[in-house]
Structure formats: structure tokens, C-alpha cells
Amino acid sequence: MSALLKVEGLRVEIARRGRVMTAIDDVSFEIAAGEILGVVGESGAGKSVTGTAVLGLLERPAFQAAGRILFDGRRIDTLDEDAMRALRGREIAAVFQDPLTSLDPLMTIGDQLTETIRTHLDLTQAEAVERAARLLAEVGIPAPRERLASYPHEMSGGMRQRVVLALAFSCEPRLIIADEPTTALDVSIQAQILDLLRAMCRERGTAVMLVTHDMGVIAEVADRVAVMYAGRLVEVGPTQSLLAEAAHPYTRGLMGSIPDMHRRDVELAQIPGSMPRPDAPVPGCAFHPRCGQALPRCAVERPLTFTAGASEVACWLADPAARSAA
């Protein structure tokens, strides 16, 4: 299966007051057409930076320092701003956490939809309005034709995020970057939005890079999962097997720290300490100071990526040579 999106050795640096910090380093992954890849990690792990880089929206002082981003076999990280703008919204769309910041408060829902549609597709105003109404109906907004005249503030948070989904899907993109799309919503509304996102992608064969901190959301919608820690990918694998038996000690610690609805009265597993900050990078494996199983080499040598079961793991413990020696 050829990849729709291919990210190779991506490094993003932040230059501030003469100092250069590395926000993400050597991040490589692929998303196949129609696939939902969940990118999960805690605050500051670099997951949003990765999504922003793919969208070509990195802003100074952050910049891409190394690596390549290929969309449908074509390199997009070197495109100029006009070419990238033509791609964004058309081929690659974005959904962000807060629908109020994605929507213009001074424009009606209908105007925002038709503007996006007519920017990218060769349609008349009447055709664009027709398409906008159809999209609103599809994302489950009651009385879609009347709603075209509404402003964002007249809708609830869940309804607004439905409008954002309609905008994202308006030009039939092949890839959607969704950054914490349900974090601001209540669980019952979150479930509705996730169902809708999954159904619309399945129907159209749209691929998604779903950035989230919530393993529960990953479990609901992702086909594969990429776990980030301190700006690096530590583990990538199919959702079912990765959640059931994580290979990386960080992923295991993360899973253990989530309270279990069905096993009460147990002490939660704790990962001691906190994630290193970009201005104080850790040599070797970035997780080694917090890892209970760290080997001497973990403190000096950056781990290579090994295959462990169905997953790819950046951890010396998964090194077949080390395992056979042990």
C-alpha cells in the first residue's frame, strides 16, 4: 500500500534569543489513503508541532530544520506559500480543538462554507450554497438551509464542531489533520463527533492524522497509533495490539496511569518525574531518567527503532541483539 502522507526524519527547531531548541526530532511515519493514524502524547510531546508542520503552518520562531514531507509522492514542505495555500483546504484540511477559533464570528455559517467551496472548486454561488446545505445535513445539523444564515455564536459547542467538520470535508480532501477535535466537548457530544468523523472518512476514503492526548479517543477511532515523547516517536503500531500490549516502557506507563472503570481500589501506576523540556534535552533515550528498566546504554546512546510484534519501537530493550545476550 503506497502512503498518502510520508514524513521522513522531520526535525523542527525553535530559535529564541540566540538559542536553538529542538521541538521534534527525527520523526518519520506514514499514513495510507483512508487510514486513521492517532498521534498521542502528553503536553509538550510535539504532536501538535508535527501536525502544524504537515499543514505548512509553522510560524517563526519555529522552523523545519531537517526532513521531508511527501503528500501523494510529491514533496510539499518545499512548496511556496501560494502553492501550499491551494493545497490546504482542498487536499489537506484541518480541524482544531476550539471551533470558535476556527470559525469567523462575523460571518454566517453559509458564507464561510461557500467561501471555502468557491475558493477551491469551480462552482457557481447557487451550486456552492446547495453543496453547503447538503454538508450541514450530512454532519447532522437540523434544518440545514435555515442554519446557513446563523452565526457561530448562535450554536452550541457540539454544533459548531459539526460545522467545522462540514468545512473540513467541503472540498473532499484526501487528508484531514484533526488536532484535539473533541477535547473541548462533553463525553456524549465527543462520542457523536468521533462517530461522525469516522463515518465520513470511511465513506469517502479520507485519511486522518488525529492528534490527541486521550487514549480513549485513540481506542475509539484510530487504525494505528503513534506515541510521542519529548519530541520523538517512541512507538508506532496497530491500535488493538498497541493498547493491549504496549512495547515501550513509556507507553506501558501511560496506559497504567489511566484509571480503569472496572478495577477500582488499585493504586494507579505512576511514571516518576516529568517530561524533559525542549530547553533541557536528555542525552541517549529521552525517557531513560524516568524508566524503571533503563540499561546503561540508554543514558548515552539514542535508541534505534526495532520491530516488536506488530509495532515499531524506539527502545534498546527491544533490540534483538540485547535480548539474545540477556
Partner: protein
């Protein structure tokens, strides 16, 4: 709830309403009437000493308003809150309320907003001790602050630092140290870990449980996160649109929920340990508290609603260790729920 328990907090028909009317002039010109937000309506529950009582529900259900009313920040419109046998609405002066305030402390959701950024940590933690006149400035106070910092897993050397020098999890530890400073019996925790990453959340929840064991603390935990509630609560109440729809033993409610809202809420929680399970969905959104539906407030979204539900408000009835306000439960119309609770509730409802 049963006479054996030592009740520390008793909430009786607590009602909080907010006036959301347009300004007088606009009302006169447009003929618009007064509008009232029914934030909390006739809520009743009791909390046993040394236990954790959790209030859960979606945004706008009134759970934080209850916390604020109990903490004395929000004046109730009706009903009463009795803490250690004293009705807190009866306090006429700040002075009279002081012993109550000392025994009841609060931890807030956002550790960035709830600590004064211009105060050093030592002053933040010493303040409640000085306010309540428990100690005076001096070596003993310094030692007490250092001891509190160590209790929450920070170092005594942190007293000279400012809040911005700490991570979110460490700030929440500072909030906990401040809440414990006056040696309270009761701590109201309003979404204490919602702003934190899961690994940090685990550290804070473990700390809260350890402190409860060591000090016999009572917690009122406000949370939208059912997994956190499952981990912490002895008893719980499920709120919908300002009312408690189900309350009682947390193990029973989470294991064998009765109210249709509780069942659907449990079904919507994504579970990383059960990927892509088939679950029932909660359709629609919570109606406006400005105009709550008649009868049972949940009836427009409820798969079991009938004409009576639309007309008549259900009263709580006891089912084993829980109180449930639902006509379907009372009339025995409630479909049985598979033990794994992973099958669609809507389809099992059709079969009944």
C-alpha cells in the same frame, strides 16, 4: 443515608437560580419577561465522614454550582447546607463563619489561575494558617510550611519560589498543600485533575487517596471524568440539568446503573482497554437550563420516555444502595443490562 454513618455534610433541597433577565429598560421596550437559569434544583445528598462523594455530569449540569454553594462562595436560592451539624446559611458575619471555613477547603481545576502569581509558595501555604490564627509568624510556621510541602511531595526548599517556576502537576500539589494548611476535615475538589496530563493525574489521584487515608479527610469530588470517579468515589451522584437523577454507592451505580441517563453516559465514555466496542449513543444535546423540559428533564433524549415522563417529574425511589428518579425504574419498564455493559442499550430496550 443510613443511621450508622457519621454524616459530615448534609445538603437539603438545595436550589440555586440565576437571574438572566435582559436589563429592565429592554424588558419594558420589548415586553420580554424575566428569565431564570435553573442551575440547581432541590438537590439532596449526604456525605459520610472520611468518604469521597463524587458529583458527575456534563457541562452546565450544576455540579460546580453545588460545590460553590457548599464552599460558601455561592448563596443558595433555597434549601440548606448543613456542615458538621451547623446550617451554613445561618452565618451572619464573616467571623461566625470562620470555624466552618477552616474545616472546609477547596482545590480548583486550574492550578495556573488559583495560585497568586506574585506570591512565593511559602506565603501561599502560610496564608490560611495565619488567617485562621492557628499560628503566628516564626520558626514553627516555617517548619509547618516545610512539612506541608514534603507531605505533598515537594521540597522545603521550594518555599522561596514563585508558582510559574513549577509544572502544572507541581502547582496542583501546592494547591493541595494550601488546602491542607488549616487542617480541614473536608475538601471540595472541583475537577482537580482535568487540566493535567494522565501520568500527572495519576500522581495527584494517588496523593489525594494517600492523604485521605492518613488524615481521615472527606472529599466532595466534582468531575466529568467517570474513570476518575470510579477510582476515587465511595458514593456518587449523577446530575442532569440541575437535578440528581441517581445517587448512592459508586460501585453499584458504575456496575449496575439504573437511570437511563447514567447508562448512556457510561456507554459514551471511550475506554482505552476496550477499543471500538459497540455502544449505545446519547442523541441530542443537553437542553437549556433557562427552559428545562417539563416532567423528567431527560425525557426528550430518553429511549424509554412515555407520556407520563413528559408530564410528571419522577421522585427518587430506593433500589438497593441507590436512589433513582425515573418512572421507567419505578414502573419496572427498565430493560435488563448485559453484565459486560458493552452491548447496545437501545437494542436491548427494543427487545423488552
Amino acid at each position: 443515608m443510613n443511621g450508622v454513618k457519621d454524616t459530615i455534610l448534609s445538603v437539603d433541597r438545595l436550589t440555586v437560580r440565576f437571574d438572566a433577565s435582559p436589563p429592565l429598560l429592554k424588558r419594558l421596550v420589548t415586553g420580554a419577561g424575566r428569565r431564570t437559569v435553573h442551575a440547581v434544583e432541590e438537590v439532596e445528598f449526604e456525605v459520610a465522614r472520611g468518604s469521597t462523594f463524587a458529583l458527575v455530569g456534563e457541562s452546565g449540569c450544576g455540579k460546580s454550582t453545588i460545590a460553590r454553594a457548599i464552599a460558601g462562595i455561592q448563596r443558595p436560592s433555597g434549601g440548606s447546607v448543613s456542615f458538621m451539624g451547623v446550617d451554613i446559611a445561618g452565618f451572619r458575619t464573616r467571623h461566625a463563619a470562620m470555624p466552618y471555613r477552616r474545616n472546609l477547603q477547596m482545590i480548583f481545576q486550574d492550578p495556573y489561575a488559583s495560585l497568586n502569581p506574585r506570591w512565593r509558595v511559602g506565603r501561599i501555604i502560610a496564608e490560611p494558617i495565619l488567617t485562621h490564627g492557628l499560628m503566628t509568624r516564626g520558626a514553627a510556621l516555617t517548619a509547618r510550611v516545610a512539612e506541608l510541602l514534603e507531605t505533598v511531595g515537594l521540597s522545603p526548599g521550594d518555599t522561596a519560589k514563585f508558582p510559574h517556576q513549577f509544572s502544572g502537576g507541581q502547582r496542583q500539589r501546592i494547591s493541595i498543600a494550601r488546602a491542607l494548611a488549616a487542617n480541614p476535615a473536608f475538601v471540595v475538589c472541583d475537577e482537580p485533575t482535568s487540566a493535567l496530563d494522565v501520568s500527572v493525574q495519576a500522581q495527584i489521584l494517588n496523593l489525594m487517596r494517600r492523604l485521605q487515608r492518613e488524615r481521615g479527610l472527606t472529599y466532595l469530588l466534582i468531575s466529568h471524568n467517570l474513570a476518575v470517579v470510579a477510582h476515587m468515589a465511595d458514593d456518587m451522584g449523577v446530575m442532569y440539568l440541575g437535578r440528581l437523577v441517581e445517587q448512592g454507592d459508586a460501585g453499584q451505580i458504575l456496575g449496575r446503573p439504573l437511570h437511563p441517563y447514567t447508562r448512556l453516559l457510561l456507554d459514551t465514555v471511550p475506554d482505552p482497554r476496550a477499543p471500538k466496542r459497540d455502544r449505545a449513543r446519547l442523541a441530542g444535546e443537553v437542553p437549556s437550563p433557562l427552559a428545562p423540559p417539563t416532567g423528567c428533564a431527560f425525557h426528550p433524549r430518553c429511549p424509554l420516555a412515555n407520556a407520563r415522563c413528559a408530564r410528571e417529574r419522577p421522585l427518587p425511589i430506593r433500589v438497593e444502595a441507590a436512589l433513582v428518579a425515573c418512572h421507567a425504574v419505578e414502573e419496572g419498564r427498565l430493560p435488563s443490562r448485559p453484565p459486560a455493559a458493552q452491548q447496545s442499550f437501545a437494542t436491548s430496550g427494543d427487545a423488552a
